[in-house]
Every structure is written in structure tokens, then in C-alpha cells.
């Protein structure tokens, strides 16, 4: 009734906490998918707030591609230790070794799409019936159509035409055995909201989000972090400059921005002035206009 008296961030926080508590209330074995990016860090904070002074009543699952930024892994380990939650890590490398997926080859080789198989195996291994993730509807066009509770069949598939209508704040989490739900508590947050919230709550982030000097590969108009995981081609230019990452995925598919922004406030200011969206820095989405929708149909997050 007095929603308008609260700031919009407070409204979003209240809504997200309600959703996280619904996941715990409606599912037998929920898990939070943690990538070490700012969105899953925000989600972890909201989960902490939802149950404090009790501990977060579900584990975190990280699907490790093996191509992560080392700074992200260090941050992840520190955070789970502080929160006192159980961390489960499953490796894409294991799926490759078991011949379940094949490593991509060539210039654009990335393990991003391969994560799906490792994720689905982990869901089956632990019997997770709800996986919470930090996806937001403003990220991408097919994400804009996603429900807060998104039902996946036992192959992990998403069927856009069979989505359950979501009315008011009532969330229908009823599923059959073998199915699972992907739950998105920060669906209604924008990139700007996340940055504002991180600033307001004084949440620490992995250092790669802030301006730092780094060895880079300049390719097709984008700066990629130089690493052993990247298949270099002749046209690649190796360079070194001061950059930051605005979104964090694998080292092979996340582009850096040339930036001197060293604080959250400087980052927010620069993002606003750029008029560019963070997804522009995800090389994996640029494969085609429907890249993300196609991956989601196959069980990708």
C-alpha cells in the first residue's frame, strides 16, 4: 500500500527475498548456482538477508569450466567461507574426460555451452529440484520472456510456448518427479539496479570488475584477457592496457572495457555514460541473434 514510499531498490529487495523464501518453502532440495559474477554475488547477499540470523539453508553449486578468472575463484572461496554455506563444484573438464562433451576447436573455442551437460549431471547427481540463478530479464531478449519459476523437463529443456502464467506474486512450483525448476529471484532487476545495490550494501566484488592493468588479446574489435585457454590466431594482437570487466564469464568469452574506473561509483557513472549494455561484452551471445534462446532450450541456464 505504501510501496511508493520505499525506494525502488527496497521494493526489488523485498520481492527477491520473498521469491527465495518461496523456493525454500516449496522445494525439497534447492541449490543456488554461483558463478562468482556480480549477479550471483547479489543473489548470495539476498539469500543471506532472507534467513539471517539463520544460515542460508541450501548449498551453492559452481559449474567450473576450468577457464575462470582466478580472481573469481578466490572470491568465491572467501565468500562461502564467510557465509558458512556448503560449496559444491563440478567440472566441465570431467564431462570432457568422460566423453560426454567435446571441446570446441578453432578461434572461438569456448566452454560456455559445454557447461549445460555438467550442470544437468550435477542436478541429477544431487537430486536438486530447484536451481536459483542470478539471471535478469533485462539482460537479453529471450531472458525477457522468462518466468520467475521456469519449469524444465527431465532433459532440462525450456519450452517458451508452454510457460506457466505467473499471476500476482503467487508462484506455482509444483513439478513431477525428474523435472526441476530454474528460479530467478532477481528477474526484475536491471544492470543498473545491481550496481546501485552493490554500492548501497557495500558488497565487495572480485578485483577484475575494477580497472587494472592486464595483458590482452585484441580480436574482432574486442579485448579478451590473455590466457592459456585462448586459441590464438595470426590476426590477434597482443597488447597491455588498463581495463575492467563489466560482466564476468569465462576468460575466453568475456570482453574487457578500457577503463580507469576504480570504484563502484566511477563504474556506475561510466556505464551510464556509455549507453552500451553489458551483454555486448559476451562473445558467446554474438554467435547469432537467437544464441541464448537456443542454448536455453538445450538446458543451459
Amino acid at each position: 500500500m505504501t510501496n511508493y514510499l520505499q525506494s525502488h531498490l527496497q521494493t526489488l529487495e523485498d520481492e527477491s527475498i520473498y521469491i527465495i523464501r518461496e523456493v525454500v518453502g516449496q522445494f525439497r532440495k534447492p541449490v543456488l548456482l554461483f558463478s562468482g559474477g556480480k549477479d550471483s554475488i547479489t543473489l548470495a547477499r539476498l539469500a543471506q538477508k532472507a534467513f539471517y540470523p539463520a544460515k542460508i539453508p541450501f548449498p551453492f553449486l559452481h559449474i567450473d569450466t576450468g577457464h575462470n578468472f582466478p580472481e573469481t575463484i578466490a572470491y568465491r572461496d572467501k565468500l562461502v567461507n564467510e557465509l558458512g554455506v556448503e560449496l559444491i563444484v563440478r567440472y566441465v573438464q570431467d564431462s570432457i574426460d568422460q566423453n560426454k562433451v567435446q571441446e570446441e576447436t578453432g578461434k572461438h573455442a569456448s566452454r560456455n555451452a559445454l557447461q549445460t551437460v555438467t550442470l544437468l549431471d550435477a542436478i541429477e547427481e544431487f537430486g536438486f529440484d530447484a536451481c536459483m540463478g542470478g539471471a535478469r530479464r533485462d539482460e537479453e531478449k529471450s531472458r525477457a520472456k522468462e518466468r520467475i519459476f521456469s519449469v524444465r523437463d527431465d532433459f532440462g529443456q525450456w519450452d517458451a510456448k508452454k510457460q506457466r502464467p505467473e499471476l500476482f506474486s503467487t508462484l506455482n512450483g509444483k513439478i513431477h518427479f525428474g523435472e526441476n525448476v530454474r528460479a530467478f529471484p532477481i528477474s526484475n532487476w536491471t544492470e543498473e539496479d545491481v550496481w546501485n545495490y552493490i554500492a548501497q550494501e557495500q558488497i565487495g566484488l572480485p578485483s577484475i570488475y575494477f580497472a587494472h592493468r592486464r595483458k590482452l588479446v585484441y580480436r574482432d574489435g574486442a579485448y579478451l584477457a590473455y590466457s592459456a585457454y585462448l586459441n590464438l590466431v595470426e590476426t590477434d594482437e597482443i597488447t597491455e592496457t588498463t581495463v575492467r570487466f563489466r560482466t564476468v564469464g569465462d576468460m575466453t568469452c568475456t570482453a574487457a572495457f578500457i577503463s580507469e574506473a576504480a570504484t563502484i561509483n566511477e563504474i556506475m557513472h561510466e556505464n551510464k555514460a556509455s549507453k552500451s549494455s553489458e551483454r555486448g561484452a559476451r562473445i558467446d551471445d554474438k554467435r547469432s541473434e537467437a544464441a541464448l534462446e537456443e542454448r536455453k532450450k538445450g538446458g543451459y541456464f
Binding site: 500500500m1 534467513f51 530479464r137 531478449k141 525477457a144 500476482f168 549494455s277
Partner: protein, 414 residues
């Protein structure tokens, strides 16, 4: 900065997606990537005017067919306000999505093609906005450029709209304005071609509406979880985590627990490390009570016992959303917030046609997108208010017990 939730609705080709694109463009809210995509697609299709629809139609099938199938959520902010737009499909078979989009909105924008006037869809959309008791409805008469910006065309359609809205007892704030999304008239920039129109632009209207839910002042608190902690800092901490659906709650308040009817007193409210003295509608909090009572998920805390909340017989308006029809004596699961109960469809009192909202038609079953007044019997009471009295605690969903899909939405009458 505050938050306003808007729903857009219109028939196929009324130009909803174009309107949203225009709104974002003229508000300077498109990203560089979106601008580039619009420019590229416009060129590919060989169009004269920019094709804004490409930024909202997100699914492969939508781009192939050139229509909107599912609700898309669009987020943007001006310097004063943050907007969430639920862009709902206009196809009749996707009416359920229109209800879905409108259920989380405070404002409905209904688009009308100036050449076509009011269509069956328009009646349906207004009916749904009215059923959902939205506070504000904005009728945009679009494509005014094609009818030579004619005031007569506009006035004729406005008269039809007034005739339609007059049939309803619930009266939202209604705005009617002439626009061209394609050319940009009266969306953000006042129209030079329609100097006869003296009213506000769409953007001005959306900036003057006061956001906020409409609920009763009576407390409805949904218990989601019991939080129990034993450690050095918190000795035997016991609290009830949940959401204030409506009203306010303060430390010192006397409250009643439903369904038991036991009375206790609020001794603490917690939001993470903060312990505020009170909390109001929409807030997710933890409540501590003076007495050690058996309380679990699905129970409700209220100010004082109200017998109407305990009824097992519910009269309601249903919007049927499943391809599988509803049949008499059919069993469903009724869910409202955290509460669920088995229920049975006891009677279909009559179908309601959006063109004639006061009349009822006999029906043996309910098909997809049917709207009907029904009587339901629940196994356990769900503490529902009449929707008219408390919009925040008057709606529910019906779940098909076999498929688990959400089969209907209901609005409690009594």
C-alpha cells in the same frame, strides 16, 4: 526514484512493440546495441521508418511470424522514475498472458488502430483491466498518421470508448490520446500535426500517475518459514519469515493467527540486521511473537479474527488459462501466496462476455480464455478477501493436479 509497473495490450499489428520502441527511443533509453539492431533490421526489411519492434520480440517464433507470443518485460528509467513494462500479446489465444502481464501492473495501456476503432480485443482488454481493478487505463489511438491526423476519427473512437467504460461499475482513471508510434506523435514529443489535441503526451501521463498498490489497511501477513536459531548471539531466536501482503504491523500490536484463532503480541520485527518498529505492505520481514505458538508455513497473521477469511465456499470470477477445459466437479489445487488447498468446481454460474459485462451465458465447461463466474469449495480455508475490498489478498490460481500447470486465475467475490 519510484517504480511504476505498466502493461501494454493491443490486437495484432496495433503496433505495441513499435510504441514501446518509440517510447524508449524518444526517451533516449535505447542502448547502442539496440540502436544498431534497429538500424540493421530496418535496412534488411527495406522500411522507410525505423522498425522498433525488433527489440521486444525476443523469441525465434515471434520474429518469424512477426507477432508477440509471450509477455516480454522491458525495463527502463527516466530521470524521475523507473518503469517495468509487461508487453502482452494481442492474439486472442494468448489472452492468458495479457491477464498475467496486467496482474503485476498498476497501469494498462490499450492500443487502438485509428483505422479500425474498437475491436473484440479492445473490449476484452478493457474488461481484464477492469477485472484486475487497475487504477489507470490509457487508451492510445495509434496510427493517426494514416488517417491524416483527423480529429473527427479520434472523437468518434473516444465516444465509443466512453460508451464501453460507462458499462462498468468500477471506474479507473481513464486517459484517451491520439498518437503515432511510427512517427512519434504524442508519445514523448507533443504532436505538431495534431495541435487540436491539448492533453498530455503518453510520457507525461506515465510520469504523473502515482504508483503504489491498492489494498485494505487490514494486516495480512503470509508466513513463509519459521526461523529458529540457537547461538551465542541469538539465544533461542524464533521468528516467522514472510511478506506483509496488506496493511501494517508494529511492535506491540496484538495479532491473531489463522486458522487457529490464537492471539499473541508482536515483540520484534527484523529485516536482516535491522529491527524496525513497524513494516508495511510489500515488505519481506521476520516477526517475533510474545508466546511460543505452533505456527508454520501457510498460516496467516491478521489484526483480529475476521470470519469471512475462514470460508470454505468461494464465489469468484475465473479466467481459464489451460487448453484442457474446466469441468463441473473437477478437482484442482487452489493456491494463494504460500497457501494451497484441494478444491472442487461446484458450479459455473455463467460465462461473461467482455462485450456485455453485465450478462451471463450458460456453460457446461470452461475453455481456454473463457471468463466465468463460478462457485468453488476448498478443503481448507485460504483466508482470502474479496478482491474489491483487498486487491492484494483477493486473487488466487487454480493448478491442475495432474499436469501441475496453472489452469486459471480467480478473483474472489465472497
Amino acid at each position: 526514484m519510484d517504480l511504476l509497473r505498466i502493461n501494454t495490450a493491443g490486437s495484432v499489428d496495433d503496433g505495441k512493440s513499435t510504441l514501446i520502441g518509440r517510447f524508449l527511443n524518444d526517451s533516449n533509453a535505447l542502448t547502442i546495441e539496440q540502436e544498431a539492431l534497429i538500424a540493421r533490421k530496418t535496412k534488411e526489411k527495406g522500411l522507410e521508418d525505423l522498425d522498433f519492434s525488433v527489440i521486444t520480440d525476443g523469441l525465434i517464433a515471434e520474429r518469424e511470424q512477426g507477432i508477440t507470443i509471450d509477455v516480454a518485460h522491458i525495463y527502463f528509467s527516466s530521470s524521475e522514475r523507473k518503469f517495468i513494462i509487461a508487453d502482452s500479446p494481442g492474439h486472442v489465444e494468448y489472452t492468458r498472458n495479457m491477464v498475467t502481464g496486467a496482474s503485476n501492473s498498476e497501469v494498462s495501456i490499450i492500443l487502438i488502430d485509428a483505422r479500425k476503432g474498437l475491436l473484440e480485443q479492445t473490449y476484452r482488454h478493457y474488461f481484464i483491466s477492469n477485472l484486475l481493478r487497475l487504477k489507470t487505463v490509457v487508451f492510445c489511438i495509434n496510427k493517426m498518421d494514416i488517417v491524416d491526423y483527423s480529429e473527427d476519427v479520434f472523437l468518434a473512437i473516444a465516444t465509443d470508448i466512453n460508451k464501453m467504460t460507462a458499462q462498468y461499475s468500477y471506474k479507473p482513471d481513464v486517459y484517451i490520446l491520439p498518437i503515432s508510434s511510427l512517427k512519434g506523435d504524442n508519445v514523448v514529443i507533443p504532436s505538431a500535426a495534431m495541435s487540436w489535441y491539448k492533453g498530455k503526451t503518453l510520457s507525461q501521463i506515465l510520469h504523473t500517475i502515482k504508483p503504489g498498490g491498492q489494498g485494505s489497511k487490514n494486516l495480512r501477513f503470509d508466513v513463509q518459514q519459521v526461523i529458529h536459531v540457537q547461538n551465542k548471539e541469538f539465544i533461542d531466536y524464533r521468528a516467522y519469515a514472510g511478506k506483509v501482503i496488506s496493511g501494517t504491523v508494529s511492535v506491540g500490536d496484538s495479532i491473531t493467527i489463522l486458522p487457529s484463532g490464537i492471539v499473541s503480541e508482536v515483540v520484534g520485527i527484523r529485516k536482516f540486521t535491522n529491527t524496525p518498529a513497524s513494516a508495511s505492505a510489500g515488505e519481506s520481514i521476520q516477526i517475533q511473537l510474545k508466546d511460543d505458538i505452533d505456527i508454520s508455513r501457510g498460516m496467516m497473521l491478521v489484526n483480529k479474527k475476521e470470519e469471512t477469511l475462514l470460508s470454505k465456499n468461494i464465489t469468484a470470477t475465473l479466467v481459464w488459462m489451460d487448453e484442457k477445459p474446466a469441468v463441473l466437479s473437477g478437482k484442482y489445487i487452489l493456491q494463494s501466496g504460500t497457501r494451497t488447498s484441494q478444491c472442487r468446481l461446484e458450479a459455473i454460474k455463467g460465462l461473461i462476455l467482455p462485450e456485455k459485462p453485465d450478462e451471463f451465458q450458460d456453460a457446461e465447461f470452461l475453455a481456454l480464455n473463457d471468463i466465468a463466474k463460478v462457485r468453488l469449495k476448498v478443503a481448507t480455508p485460504l483466508f482470502l478477501d474479496a478482491f474489491d475490498y483487498n486487491r492484494l489478498n483477493g486473487a488466487f490460481i487454480l493448478i491442475d493436479a495432474l499436469t501441475n500447470t496453472t489452469a486459471a486465475v480467480g478473483f474472489t467475490e465472497e
